[in-house]
Amino acid sequence: MLRFIPILTIVLMIGPVSAGLIGTILPAFGILPALGGTTPSLDPWQALVAQPGLGASIRLSLANGLIATFVSVAIVMLFCAAWQGTRTFHALQRILSPILSVPHATAAFGLAFLIAPSGWFVRVVAQFTGWDRPPDVAIIHDPWGIALIAGLVAKEIPFLFLMTLSALPQADTDRTAQVTASLGYGRIAGWFKATLPRIYPQIRLPVLAVLAYSTSVVDVAIILAPTTPAPLAVRILGWLSDPDLALRFMASSAAVLQLLIVIAAMAIWIAGERLVAIIGAQWAVDGNRCKRDGAARGGAAVMALVAAGTVVLGLVVLLVWSVAGFWAFPDLLPRGFSLRLWARELDAIGNSLTTTLLIGIPAVVIAVTMVLACLENEVRTGKVAGRRAMFLIYLPLLVPQISFMFGLQVFFSLLGLERTLVSVVLGHLVFVAPYVFLSLSEPFRTLDPRYGQTALCLGASPARVFWQVRLPLLTRAVLTAAAVGLAVTVGQYLPTLLIGAGRFATVTTEAVALASGGDRRMIGIYGLFQMVLPFAGFALALLIPAVLFRHRRGMGAQNKG
């Protein structure tokens, strides 16, 4: 039975994605019977090419995705190189989980409230310059997409950092650092020359997922990206919601184009990896010790702190907005405060939180179960060959949501499963399982096999070894993976709305609907509401092992890796 789980998992991941892609590709070539499209044609593509500013949209998507990913990876690697094993490193590690539980859109709103020409930063400046009008400059929605890149970087750094953390133990970094240091290498140079080549392959998938996400992001882009024209994914959403139903054909071909852009971005990234590998290989053995890296180390710390600090400060400004009375420019604080909106929303929030959990808990439980079964199967059969196949589990992270979501909705209608809890949970599972796999696979695979071997020698059955040895040892990793999974399901907007036909009002669907009303108080309240569940999840993931193993000092050490 266990051996079928990996196949089942892959089917559950690939099935919806392929079904959705088919539902998108057919209209892209003119097939959509409901709108009278019955013969294949290239008209949708011609219409797409004729769209003004298409080139600029493609360029924006591609450039933003690549730059945001590069900057995030660079900062995380530089910071790890400069500070790993120090107190600063552990301090940052601690504020990470909360930041990871901030939804992308919430972080983006927070950033916008900070850096917009009427935002907090300019208000501080205005106190000295005496401005009573915000400067008429495009800081957000800037033509270069810098605000969008900043928003993505601030949010992707914690994710990549967490992924790197789980990879570090296997690279034997501490001893490597001792060796490079004793050979006279600077901290950063030693890490880049000896540790990075072992770390990077392990975080490559998360990096590609970040790249795919940044290239096709919609919600953050609506808040921060330029609009004349907007990145392609945002325009697709606009075409899909145009009253002119004939635009659906062109929107579908644009969704296929979006997929091609993501593939192109990955090709460019992989070519870049090769190039860096060639140059890096020469640099690694050129004997240069790069001992004076104090400035670089300082810079790395500043960049990481600015990224984390921006998200945190953004949350503070959201909190202030959520209780604000009228708040004029350039006042630093509102003229009055009011809890009126909080009071009324607290009444209503219970239902959405329950619905969110009703979808989230089954999705997370199934995902964790499936992933554990896949990994346990690997251990028992001794085959790591499955790993290559397991790459397929990441497909939903690499294919842009907008390219298959609408097709998927049609697919579920065909099955008669639309707007049932089953289909919504399945839709969420597609995105939850890959993240659970990402965060659980490394701890599981690197768990010392001798524990299991010893237990087997003592006569325990394989099942008992799993339940009484491996699983308890992995408690913390499993709970963290579940928390990551919960954060992912809470954040899903399109799948919940489309597959659930709007019948499942989660915190996020409510938040997005209310955000369209533009009241920053509501945006603040719901931005914070969206954080509640993921935050609780991460807190429990820390708390449960601490309580469970309070009399077992070794467990703490083991699980820290």
Binding site: S118, D242, D244, L245, S338, L341, R419, G517, R521
Partner: protein, 409 residues
């Protein structure tokens, strides 16, 4: 291993037991026989897809839902949308999948282009609206748009729900005089560059602004009542493009960036980024002041030669699961009681579609006694209501605008 299976089975079982009601074929109600409609409606649940961006409106919808539950045994669930077109898309995708019965959408808050598109593609149930009891109170004579949605005859496929008219607003603490026509707006902007903008078309409010300008500048406004392809569209639109040629460089952010929608324009005014903004309802401005979104010195006004006005409606998709329930709900929404509450800015502040002289005396008085709110315009202050152009003009203007101004990089 067996535990995995049972865990999985348990999870699936848990999920299937909480399935929502299965889809079923809902026979078309006989609207001529009202009692039969009420009988059929009892026990139905109406999923009403409506924009959900405004807590006050959501509250009003919840109130209406409670009323029809108590009176007629019809449950109402609001599906909160960010964009009405999402509901249109859903009906379309159901048609694609052959779901011609038991669809997800029972009622849509709709008008204009979305209605025209659904009507054109046979996605609507009806006619039903004009046979409902409360339609008798509707001001068909005085408000011709209640049966002509952006010039497209409603043919009883949608029921009028509210009236809307473009009005501008500004902070009286900051401005003494305001421009009251397209031409004056341009002259004012020359003196105050960067202090005005409009949402980026094809946003509804942005396109509305362009249509307002077009209606003012066009030589013969009657042309706009015909479909664009039956006229010399290029010549008709020429004055608009000439005007924008001068206006665009004077806009906020030099026309390089735009607010996303009407609500973000309100935010810009609150932040003193612009001096003048506009909305489709002056009652909305009063509500925004109440909600601390705008300073209490903000007031509304209209252009000298009038502003565009239209009606918004509720419609029922052809494959709705609860058609009778939706008809009953729609009828209630047109009732004097529901319309009175809707016009009260304490609850919403949107104008009624009813004719005062058709109402019973006590209701007439209740409407007359409403306090409309500090920034709302009384009917006497609203000037001329200009008719909306045919929807084809909107599409044409949006496409052409995108070519000219949608790409600045």
């Amino acid at each position: 291993m067996r535990t995995f299976v049972s865990a999985l089975a348990l999870a699936v079982g848990f999920a299937t037991t909480t399935l929502s009601t299965p889809a079923f074929a809902d026979p078309a109600p006989d609207v001529g026989n009202w009692q039969s409609v009420l009988d059929q409606a009892r026990g139905q649940t109406v999923y009403w897809h409506a924009w959900g961006g405004e807590p006050r409106i959501n509250d009003y919808i919840a109130w209406a839902g409670e009323q029809v539950r108590e009176r007629y045994g019809v449950e109402v669930v609001q599906v909160k949308l960010t964009d009405t077109a999402d509901a249109v898309t859903r009906v379309l995708s159901e048609k694609t999948a052959g779901v011609d019965d038991g669809g997800a959408v029972d009622m849509i808050w709709i008008n204009g282009e979305n209605f025209a598109a659904m009507k054109r593609n046979d996605l609507l149930f009806g006619p039903w609206a004009e046979q409902t009891p409360n339609f008798a109170y509707v001001d068909v004579e005085g408000k011709p748009t209640v049966i002509n949605d952006f010039t497209v005859p409603t043919d009883g496929l949608e029921a009028p729900w509210g009236m809307a008219q473009v009005s501008f607003y500004y902070d009286t603490a900051k401005l003494d005089t305001v421009p009251k026509s397209a031409q004056q707006l341009l002259e004012w902007l020359v003196k105050h560059p960067g202090r005005f903008t409009y949402p980026q078309p094809p946003n509804y409010m942005g396109s509305t602004f362009l249509k307002q300008i077009l209606t003012e500048l066009v030589k013969d406004p009657k042309v706009l009542q015909q479909p664009a392809d039956e006229t010399d569209a290029e010549a008709t639109l020429a004055p608009l493009w000439g005007y924008l040629e001068d206006l665009q460089p004077l806009l906020w952010r030099d026309g390089q960036a735009y607010p996303q929608n009407g609500a973000s324009m309100r935010t810009l005014l609150a932040d003193n980024e612009v001096d003048i903004a506009f909305s489709f309802s002056s009652g909305e401005v009063s509500s925004a002041i109440e909600a601390f979104e705008l300073p209490d010195t903000v007031r509304s006004y209209v252009f000298e030669n009038g502003t565009l006005g239209n009606t918004n409606f509720v419609a029922i998709p052809y494959n709705a699961s609860a058609k009778a329930g939706a008809v009953v709900l729609a009828d209630f929404l047109m009732s004097p009681e529901a319309q009175l509450r809707k016009q009260d800015p304490k609850y919403w502040g949107a104008d009624t579609v009813l004719a005062m002289d058709k109402l019973p005396k006590d209701m007439q008085e209740a409407f007359a006694n409403l306090d409309l709110g500090i920034a709302s315009l009384a009917p006497s202050e609203r000037g001329t209501v200009l008719p909306e152009p045919h929807p084809s003009w909107m599409s044409l203007v949006e496409t052409e605008w995108q070519k000219r101004y949608g790409v600045v990089q």
